[in-house]
Symmetry: C2
Subunit: 296 residues, 2 copies
């Protein structure tokens, strides 16, 4: 009876018995923080602060690279002892006109070049959507866009991670709204350079999540794992994410599902929060590290 | 290739070829408006205004009945020529303690009595969720709660419609977030008194929507159809719905899927909008009627 409720339609594989929640992480070796999490800090400040706090990896948002020598910035991050985990973000492939879709593809080629220069092995794709355009059409344009840039990604040794976004972003940010859809795309694109970024904020509610994480693992496509929390109430659709522990997402349950696939990559803290950006960022970074230990 | 993208996991039945969008509605005979749509109006005012505008049905929110003789209010609505379509809302079954779950069941029994007194044949259920409680556990409590009140519903001749809510409400408003889950519950409860309310705002993004609407129809469970629109950007998670035509929801496509099941019940306009509540409500009602003709 329970399994009928957990899975709304036959899942691609029967989910295993619910895995026990994961144990606390023993150290910070798998902790990565996104530059946007501490948005007020320029990347050089973030790098120094993250390293001093024991953070092991950094995911770089492209806006933080503006005006920088990208290769030199990558070296600076590594000299701080930080692993450059990924570059955020490419995507936004759908558009009404072929010309605009071409511009989106060009921008993704630039992102690949930037990731290569930075030394980031992965680009996270926020795939895009056009308000009023059928979602199925946008998904086809996303497939076409990824296929178009795949040769450059392969040549640069940069992988691409489709990030399914919460259905509340289906209007204008992504027509890929479930892990099942992202896995479908991975199957269609059939490239070791195309996989998925699993972000708990977008996917925690999905009754097929456990089964689709397992499927993603079988596809060899679980490229990244992002954590934060969902606050009640959430007062802004974009910038009111919670720090881990501030909300209702079963983080240790989901990490157990992720690790059951063999994933041992970074746990990336990606929090957009007007509220938290307004606080003292040194204090906030201490809270991030503590929340990682207590809740991830 | 397209169908793989449309359906993330094997759907309960292969979707039919995409139905052509529905034709415009020829008249207002299937137009119902929810009292909350024109929230500033007391129910007596709403009834008079709706009737004068040619609206055919009314769905009554319980708050509008406060301090009224409910049976007399029902008579007043019918004297205006309005069909009493449903009572909003019951539900909110999940709770941490058995005592609180019992209180929720009591409140649903009161709702059934109110619907009976009002002459409403249907109660819409916003099923509920408890932040931090596993969604699967909340869904079980929802099933148990509906089962507990079913005898009263049958005795009163009142049907219950499970309304799946958008995943952005999974934290605290409903653990039922897809039509697939609602259909699963209908199958488990096996009662002609339990069905589903399909609301485009909650479900438009779902790649399995067409297939699940068809399944709902086969179950004989498509009890209600609610329309509004999704605005870009949406600035509030609760009260920033759009009037039909103001957003990106493919209303005529979805109505075609609904009508392909044989559904010919009301198209219910349910808009929560701080922005629209602040406008002249007479003017707004004219816009509702026009939007119904132009976009539903």
């Amino acid at each position: 009876m329970q399994s009928l409720l957990l899975v709304s339609s036959p899942a691609p594989a029967a989910p295993a018995a619910p895995a026990a929640p994961a144990a606390p992480l023993p150290d910070l070796r798998r902790l990565c923080v996104h530059t946007i999490t501490t948005k007020p800090w320029p990347i050089e400040v973030a790098a120094a602060k993250f390293a001093a706090a024991g953070v092991s990896g950094i995911t770089v948002w492209r806006d933080t690279l503006a005006g920088r020598d990208i290769a030199a910035t990558g070296r600076l991050l590594r000299e701080r002892g930080l692993a450059v985990v990924s570059l955020c973000r490419g995507g936004f492939f759908p558009a009404r006109t072929a010309e605009d879709r071409g511009k989106a593809i060009d921008d993704n080629r630039r992102a690949i070049a930037e990731a290569h220069a930075l030394g980031a092995p992965l680009i996270v794709l926020v795939c895009g959507a056009v308000p009023g355009q059928p979602l199925s059409e946008s998904r086809q344009q996303i497939l076409d866009g990824i296929a178009a840039v795949l040769p450059e990604a392969q040549a640069a040794g940069v992988k691409l991670a489709i990030e399914p976004l919460h259905p509340m972003y289906a209007d204008s940010r992504s027509a890929v709204n479930t892990l099942g859809q992202a896995n479908d795309m991975v199957e269609q694109l059939r490239s070791p350079h195309v996989g998925v970024a699993v972000d708990v904020y977008h996917l925690w509610w999905d009754p097929t999540l456990q089964a689709e994480i397992a499927r993603c693992g079988r596809l060899g496509a679980l490229f990244a794992y992002h954590v934060c929390d969902w606050r009640t109430p959430t007062i802004d659709l974009l910038n009111d994410r919670g720090l881990m522990g501030e909300g209702c997402i079963p983080l240790r349950q989901i990490r157990a599902w992720v690790e059951a696939t063999g994933y041992r990559g970074f746990n990336e803290v990606e929090v957009f929060s007007t509220r938290l950006w307004a606080t003292d960022q040194d204090d906030y970074l201490r809270k991030i590290v503590q929340a990682y230990r207590d809740h991830v």
